[in-house]
């Protein structure tokens, strides 16, 4: 095959070079690579296998190592997820985000109000002294753990065992609560357990793709490249976009429903109404494989497109057209993300997406899938391993047999494992800390001082002198600055472990280099704590006696055995060299499984399911008896609730709607991306977006400084006039204060200064995408706003050619090699297991050049 390597400015060209392909074709390979300045391929000592951790897509990559340092990254051609591609964040902030001189290299403890360096013994002793004293005087409920969507399986599982079997606290959660809790909740309600029904390969085969509150072009840039390559192919799928902003997705959409923030449920009810009213549903499938049709019919009975159009402020004809595309396309893929998950009625709206697919039986076949997306690279593992409070292996806390299984596995008393109530979600953990009943809070790899809602409140809680805060991170984040003990952690490329992306693909990330200074891996820190605390099993053995990550992986495999997320057929060895593997991977599925529920049998058997479900309006648990009485027996549940308006609506004091989100160039609170020169230059500082009508009404021009305020606080930033819908203000959530003196100062920039403390009743995910605000001009422009021109923050057409487009220049050069090798496909791309026959054909994706 013709090989051609070209150089592309991947800041200017976020999605890189197009490689169009037809329906049911294989997505061509394009190997993306970026090396440090002055480094050539010939200089590289070795390539070390990994996968990218700068979004949830899970792009497989190899890390270039020279003289013991990471100097470059390249996409893995043979991996089923990315076929060699990487996005701008992976190219420019993966190893670069780890190699910055700001890295923490020694533990810190607070002495006389100041953080001072110390050795590990001193830091760990301070933690264990406080921990022991509190366990003795106040008991396990005094301890809370708030972790991440960034750690590895082995680390989450260690943390889950420490929390549930060592200490016995229900107060464990991760920032996955902010990004992906609704994905899990919606799948548990509809299908009985977490686990993505679809696969990325459904993009290859679909006739229509619906993106619900999912700005895929910026949140998962490589996945969007796959969609773009279908769009540019000979038989493009129809695209329907639900988003209040004029995103790149909206620009390619056949129907763009720019709904008023907070009204998703009204739209979903109307779409279902249309599918039912027009007879576009599959009666046979619904009868055989679902329950709850009558309730669903009753709920949507009066939800005509006109009624929803009035509430959502979109045209009824557009709703009808979207419904027609859904109802009449042979194969439909739906993807859902924060526009639904962080908005009003999050779980209910996301369940309606599942319901649309169930009504048409569009599941478990190529091109027919649902991707209830994740926001973070390892969010899935937090959910699986139970570091988010759920029980490991998608076990059901209300099922005593499941609790007993864990007690047997860990050799502990089942009463130690907290299962008397739902796990405590993140917002409630902080509430208990605020009230003083949680006095020990261990935060790992996350930055709540910027990422949680209503920041002035979160800062007050973290600074409470009675609250003992441990922070384990790469950098001295805003949160770490408020800690009592700071532990320097090793990160990506500096440790070995596994993690799983949105579509259940498990990747291995091998250690490429040593961590800086005295930084320890998160796993070693957790194991050290467990050992120092002397946690033991019933037979007196150490609770955690793993010597390293591979021990942890094997322990996790045992925990996952027989559960929906079965890892027993995967090993480090199988993951080295081949493609990532989609769970379940076991005797029945030796190469993993591309799609779930092909046979229409769901995980709702009461003895097997992860949850008995909830009432979607209130979050009331259904309970074992009532659930069993509905005899779900493997049928999916058409769960629903009526529309109820958002709790904070615009009024005369705060007349506009406020929503927040990501830009393509940054991740989270910029701890890595803000330390990458090309990414920092592409989106250097905060802004807000206003539509042209609102700007004119308020006398505001491009780049003017404004104050945006809500009942909680204010931000003061320049304005980008973009094509966002009327009466709506958008702010990117990345811009905290670590690079601006550490605190908000006179001109706060963090989007969450304004957001409200409220959460979905089922998933407990905070509502970041709806608040009431007012906007006032406070200063004249010094030039355009610092917002990228290449993304949803693109200026309105009239201003576009007066503005310098976002480019990266030579800093942002990456190479792209198209069609380097034939595309990988399932299952040939999977390395055989030890007992499986050796595949005789050519195998892609070995380390080293193809």
């Amino acid at each position: 095959m013709e090989e051609e390597t070209i150089v592309v400015d991947r800041i200017a060209e976020i999605w890189g070079t197009r490689t169009p392909y037809p329906r049911d074709g294989l997505w061509p390979v394009r190997v993306d690579q970026a090396l440090a300045e002055g480094v050539t391929e010939a200089d590289i000592d070795r390539w070390v296998q990994s996968a990218c951790v700068l979004c949830s897509n899970g792009c497989a990559c190899d890390i270039a190592v020279k003289d013991g340092a990471m100097v470059g990254i390249r996409g893995r051609a043979g991996d089923l997820v990315n076929h060699g591609r990487l996005g701008p964040k992976g190219l420019f902030a993966s190893w670069q985000g780890m190699s910055h001189p700001d890295r923490l290299t020694r533990p810190l403890i607070r002495e006389n109000g100041e953080l001072v360096e110390c050795d590990w013994d001193t830091a760990m002793n301070r933690i264990t002294e406080r921990s022991r004293e509190l366990l003795r005087t106040r008991g396990p409920l005094s301890h809370g753990f708030y972790t991440s969507g960034q750690l590895f399986i082995e680390e989450y599982y260690a943390l889950a065992i420490i929390g549930k079997a060592g200490i016995g606290t229900p107060h464990m959660d991760g920032n996955t609560r902010l990004c992906t809790a609704t994905a899990a909740a919606a799948m548990k309600e509809s299908f009985g357990a977490d686990g993505q029904p679809g696969s990325y390969t459904d993009i290859d085969s679909c006739d229509a793709i619906f993106l619900y509150g999912h700005n895929m072009a910026e949140t998962q840039t490589v996945l969007w490249s796959r969609v773009l390559d279908r769009i540019e192919g000979p038989d493009r799928p129809k695209v329907v976009c639900v988003d209040p902003r004029d995103t790149e997705v909206a620009r390619h959409a056949d129907v763009h429903l720019a709904v008023r923030p907070g009204t998703n449920m009204a739209l979903m009810n109307a779409l279902i109404h249309e599918v039912l009213a027009n007879g576009w549903w599959d009666e046979e499938y619904v009868q055989a494989h679902t329950t709850g049709l009558e309730q669903l019919k009753a709920t949507v009975a009066d939800w005509t497109p006109e009624k929803a159009a009035g509430i959502c402020d979109v045209s009824a004809d557009d709703i009808r057209e979207a419904a027609r595309i859904f109802g009449t396309s042979a194969r439909v893929l739906s993807t859902v993300l924060q526009g639904f998950y962080q908005s009003a009625q999050a779980t209910a709206s996301s369940c309606q997406v599942n319901n649309l697919h169930l009504l048409r039986g569009l599941l478990g076949r190529p091109g027919c899938g649902i991707l209830q997306m994740n926001g973070q690279p390892t969010a899935q593992n937090n959910r699986e391993c139970g570091a988010d409070g759920d029980l490991p292996g998608f076990r059901n806390w209300e099922n005593p047999n499941h609790v007993q299984e864990l007690a047997d596995l860990w050799d502990v008393d089942p009463l130690t494992i907290p299962h008397w109530a739902p796990p405590t979600h993140a917002m409630q953990i902080f509430r208990y800390a605020e009230q003083g009943s949680i006095e020990f809070l261990w935060i790992s790899a996350t930055n709540p001082a910027v990422s949680m809602p209503d920041l002035s409140r979160i800062r007050r809680i973290l600074e409470k002198p009675e609250l003992f805060v441990v922070v384990q991170d790469l950098y001295l984040t805003e949160t770490a600055q408020a800690a009592d003990v700071v532990l320097p952690a090793a990160g990506w490329g500096e440790k070995t472990g596994t993690f799983t992306n949105v579509n259940r693909t498990v990747h291995l990330s091998d250690k490429a280099v040593d961590p800086p200074g005295e930084a320890h891996t998160d796993l070693d820190i957790f194991l050290d704590y467990s050992k120092r605390m002397g946690f033991t099993t019933l037979s007196g053995a150490p609770l955690l006696s793993w010597s390293g990550p591979e021990d942890g992986f094997r322990a996790w495999q045992e925990c996952s055995r027989g559960r929906p997320c079965d890892y027993t057929g995967i090993s480090y060895d199988r993951l080295r060299g081949g493609s990532g593997i989609q769970w379940p991977c076991n005797e029945e599925n030796p190469d993993g499984r591309e799609r779930l529920y092909e046979d229409g049998v769901f995980a709702t058997d009461p003895d097997y399911c992860e949850s008995y479900g909830h009432d979607l309006l209130t979050g009331a648990t259904v309970g074992s008896e009532a659930f069993r009485a509905t005899v779900p027996a493997g049928r999916a549940i058409l769960k629903t609730a009526d529309y109820s308006p958002p709790h904070e609506e615009p009024d005369s004091d705060y007349p506009m709607r406020y929503t927040t989100g990501r830009t393509a160039y940054h991740f989270h609170t910029r701890t890595k991306t803000g330390r990458s020169r090309p990414l920092r230059q592409a989106a250097p500082s905060a802004w807000v977006e206003l539509g042209p009508n609102d700007a004119q009404r308020l006398g505001i021009q491009e780049g003017d400084m404004v104050r945006v305020s809500s009942r909680r606080g204010k931000i003061e930033v320049p304005v980008r006039i973009s094509d966002i819908r009327d009466n709506t203000v958008f702010a990117p959530f990345h811009y905290g204060y670590w690079d601006a003196g550490g605190s908000p100062g006179a001109h706060p920039t963090a989007a969450n200064e304004l957001t409200l403390t409220e959460w979905d009743p089922v998933s407990k995910q905070p509502v970041f995408k709806n608040a009431a605000v007012k906007v006032e001009k406070i200063g004249h422009a010094n030039g355009p706003a610092p917002a990228p021109t290449t993304t949803a923050s693109r200026p309105v057409a009239a201003a576009r050619n007066r503005m310098r487009p976002t480019v990266g220049g030579s800093d942002a050069h990456a190479t792209e090699q198209v069609d380097a090798v034939p595309p990988p496909h399932f299952p040939e791309a999977i390395k055989p297991g030890a007992s499986a026959p050796v595949f005789s054909g050519a195998r892609q994706g070995q380390v080293g050049r193809p």
Partner: protein, 152 residues
Amino acid sequence: MNVNIYLGMLHRAETTLAESFRQVADGHASEPDVYALCHTLAKQCDEHSDRLQPVVERYGEASDGEPERLHAEGLSTTRQGPLGLLRDLQDLYLLGSFVDVTWTMLKQAGSALHDEELLDVVAHCDHETSVQLRWLQTRMKQAAPQALVAAR
């Protein structure tokens, strides 16, 4: 016929429950879920009274003149702190249970009377009341360990 007595009891109880939900919502506004959901459920109680209205118009509502021996007067004020929240939710649970069982008795009457309108109202409202109770129980079970064991 004494249906009018039970209609009167239920109407008063739903009104009391609505007021009490609002009282707890505002008294515990620092618990965002309690604040939001108690207001939502208060509105549900108001709606129940509205739905009952056509039935009340047919049968009337009355009191049996007996003194109330078990007082279910609603919450006059809210308590404070984690334990106070638990106690207040428990009071709501008691009021809700009274509403719930009163709906059940009206269902019995409606069945005996073959009154489809009454049975439709009961089916809708009693289901919502039972969800209210389930939510209260879910929320109390969540709050109880912390309030009873860990709170200072």
